[in-house]
């Protein structure tokens, strides 16, 4: 395996050049074929001339070649500009949010791995879906990106994530991430065109005319599909084995990677990752249908990824372990959540913690945190003492009390009044996500891009009350008539805490019928007390609830 960057550079430019030549050749071939058809059949059909089969002349062929070259150049330059940004958009990925505990955790892992490959800078991205997958991208300017899905972050443990990131880093150092990125972005344009052309043909068919045109379009479609297959053969499937090997060398832990692959294969829930067009950039194909695991020759030829079972076997061989141990290891897997630490902080500020305040030359109190908030004249420089402790400190030095000042002082930050009780919302960390919460009514204001993160994460243990509520809602869901909402004037009752416009009351979505208030200009939802937890519980247990319901109806 070449590890020096110079060797990789050389290899890379050679392959990329071949791909470009192939592209031009393909365009030439296609247009020449089209020319042939139009010349021979179309004219005969349109003008009822006598049918004589002729080949296009040399001049025409040369013109076609130059046109093909231009089209190829255009296609190339379009596909290779803003590579990372465009592909990230297709799969909905975005850079890590530094305020998010989980994202910070991922960034740390990526940073560590980037040190392990010799200090090349790698940007960390996240795809907000519950599927388990990871990908890497490298563009012409040598910017490197490693992305993982929220589901992967929430379900794997640290050494497994490290192994997966190591695998992606393996793609980056071995240079095939760059090839894949370029080829994927080239073929992505095709898929787009193919799907749009497909739409067009359908419309034509509906109108029932233009037989020759349909034939033409159909031909183009077939050829383009074929090109996609061919382009993909440029991406060596050996690359996955190679990246696995590099991951093991980086992390010295073949077992963690085997575990990760096994978990990814098992807990797969299909449809959620976009980007089927560009499956080659992922660690496992987002399609992942039966074809991939089928070991026959034909499927092996067209699959973009080697079968996972084969990869796991190789890794287990390296670790001198068998599948039984792997299964056992997974069953007893320990996962220390990065949120656990943050929650420890919350626990230390248990609700019954009380403070004494030194005012008017004497100790007053004890007060609860909520009472302190209401206390007039509490200054950051006042001396306070925690009940049951001897040490005295200034109010601004106390983590919890100092937070009150920020809230009281509306000028300092953005003032976000709770839509229900108009107290200022405070930023708290829920499941590693920074959300706005009201301390009094316990409602929560959450941006849409953050809701998807909350839903995927599984660190929260729900109260029995919440679970029951979610189960009940899941039941009512089955009766569509109960889902009809009667419009009322209360539907526009609450003000958005951020932009102060009216929010509209509606269901979160019809499949999760929880009433929330939605602000359309901020793209955020207001959840009343417990509603966020219920939604999360509902989402994570949807299969379980459905199963229960089925059993109940059968009885």
């Amino acid at each position: 395996m070449p590890f020096s960057f110079i060797e990789i550079e050389q290899k890379k430019s050679r392959l990329i050049f071949v791909v470009f030549l192939f592209l031009v050749f393909f365009y030439f071939f296609t247009s020449w074929l089209l020319l042939l058809i139009v010349r021979n059949f179309f004219f005969a059909y349109a003008f009822k001339e006598k049918f004589i089969f002729t080949f296009p002349s040399l001049n025409h062929s040369l013109i076609t070649l130059s046109i093909a070259f231009l089209i190829g150049l255009f296609h190339w330059s379009f596909s290779t500009s803003n590579l990372i940004e465009r592909i990230s958009n297709t799969i909905d990925a975005s850079p890590v949010d530094t305020k998010d505990t989980y994202h910070e955790y991922l960034k740390n892992i990526v940073d560590e791995v980037s040190v392990a490959i010799g200090g090349r800078h790698i940007e960390a991205y996240v795809i907000p879906t519950s599927a388990l997958n990871a990908y890497s991208l490298v563009d012409f300017k040598d910017n490197a990106v490693i992305g993982v899905t929220e589901g992967l972050l929430a379900r794997l443990n640290r050494s497994q994530i490290e192994a997966v990131v190591g695998h992606e880093a393996g793609h980056i150092v071995s240079g095939d991430s760059f090839n894949t990125t370029v080829i994927c972005s080239l073929s992505e344009l095709y898929k787009e065109t193919v799907s749009q052309l497909g739409q067009a043909t359908k419309e034509f068919r509906l109108r029932g005319k233009g037989g020759a045109l349909i034939l033409l379009i159909f031909l183009v479609l077939t050829i383009m599909n074929f090109l996609n297959q061919l382009l993909n053969t440029f991406i060596s499937r050996q690359r996955e084995y190679r990246a696995d090997a590099i991951a093991v060398r980086l992390t010295r832990n073949p077992l963690a990677l085997a575990e990760a692959l096994k978990l990814i294969a098992e807990k797969w829930n299909g449809s959620s990752t976009k980007g089927e067009n560009i499956e080659s950039i992922f660690i496992v194909s987002p399609r992942h249908n039966a074809l991939d695991e089928n070991l026959s020759f034909v499927s092996d030829l067209f699959a973009t990824h080697p079968p996972i079972t084969k990869r796991i076997d190789i890794l287990l061989n390296m670790a001198h372990l068998d599948e039984k141990t792997l299964a056992e290891n997974i069953a007893h897997m320990v996962r220390v959540s990065p949120v656990a630490k943050a929650e420890y902080k919350d626990k230390s500020s248990a609700k019954d913690k009380r403070w004494f305040v030194f005012k008017r030359n004497q100790w007053q109190g004890p007060f609860l945190l909520a009472e302190l908030k209401e206390l007039e004249g509490l200054l950051p420089a006042d001396w306070i003492r925690i009940e049951g402790q001897d040490s005295v400190h200034e109010a601004f030095n106390d983590d919890e009390v100092s937070r009150l000042f920020g809230n009281k002082d509306a000028d300092k930050g953005e003032f976000c009044p709770c839509p229900r009780c108009h107290a200022n919302l405070s930023e708290i960390i829920y499941e590693g996500v920074a959300i706005l919460k009201c301390d009094y009514c316990e409602g929560a204001f959450v941006d849409h891009n953050k809701i998807s993160r909350v839903l995927v994460r599984i660190d929260k243990t729900f109260l029995q009350e919440t679970i029951d509520l979610a189960a009940t809602i899941s039941k009512t869901k089955l009766k569509p008539e109960s889902l009809k909402r009667i419009p009322s004037k209360d539907d526009w009752a609450l003000d958005c805490p951020r932009c102060h416009k009216k929010m509209r009351r509606q269901f979160f979505v019809y499949s999760y019928p929880i009433e929330i208030d939605r602000c359309f200009s901020c793209d955020a939802d207001w959840f009343d007390k417990q509603e966020l937890e219920v939604l999360q519980c509902l989402y994570q247990n949807k299969d379980k609830f459905l199963l229960q319901d089925n059993i109940n109806t059968q009885i």
Binding site: V115, G118, G119, R252, H320, L321
Partner: protein, 184 residues
């Protein structure tokens, strides 16, 4: 005449080969230098974090002054160390003292819950991991280089241009990052 020509070809071949080996050896040693600077960056980061840590801990600990002093001493030693062997030793000592400091911190629940402390602890752990990874990268490169200058026929070129084997950046705590457990 023919013999002369053959000799010339052989000579050109040998010179070409020597140049090739020499260049690749130089490339390897440059990579080692780069790997070393990677470690250095992380070590420096750790050295920078320690004064903050000491400042934070100081206020809470009244009876553990010597633990703190040992950390400070270890840090100074680590900064002063010049060659790789000394540096490795000093850094090992620093790791040990830090570990004993964190063991002491466990006894102070208030300190443990301190935001600043939690953040510092996180950063130190992360830096520690990065040191481990960069050391691994460095050692891999050194191993490659050392193997290269010892195997025949490259060792001849290495001898001529006096390449000497480089020191590994070793740690005493072998259990920390070892090859996976092997069962037969």
């Amino acid at each position: 005449m023919i013999i002369g020509l053959i000799l010339l070809v052989v000579l050109v071949f040998i010179v070409g080969w020597v140049l090739m080996v020499y260049n690749s050896l130089i490339q390897l040693s440059v990579r080692i230098k780069n790997a070393w600077s990677q470690i250095d960056v992380q070590l420096k980061r750790r050295h920078d974090l320690i004064p903050n840590l000491v400042e934070t801990v100081k206020g809470y600990m009244n009876y553990e002054k010597d633990t703190l002093e040992r950390v400070i001493k270890a840090r100074t030693q680590a900064i002063d160390a010049s060659n790789i062997k000394d540096k490795a030793q000093a850094e090992n000592f620093l790791t040990q003292t830090l570990r004993s400091l964190f063991a002491v911190v466990e006894r102070y629940p208030e300190l443990k819950a301190n935001q600043n402390m939690l953040k510092l602890q996180d950063e130190l752990t992360s830096t520690e991991n990065k040191i481990a990874f960069s050391r691994q990268y460095y050692n891999d490169e050194v191993m490659r280089f050392n193997t290269r200058i010892q195997v025949a026929p490259d060792n001849i070129v290495a001898k001529i241009f006096s390449f000497v084997s480089k020191d590994f950046f070793e740690i005493e705590d072998k259990a920390q990052r070892e090859a996976p457990q092997v069962k037969f």
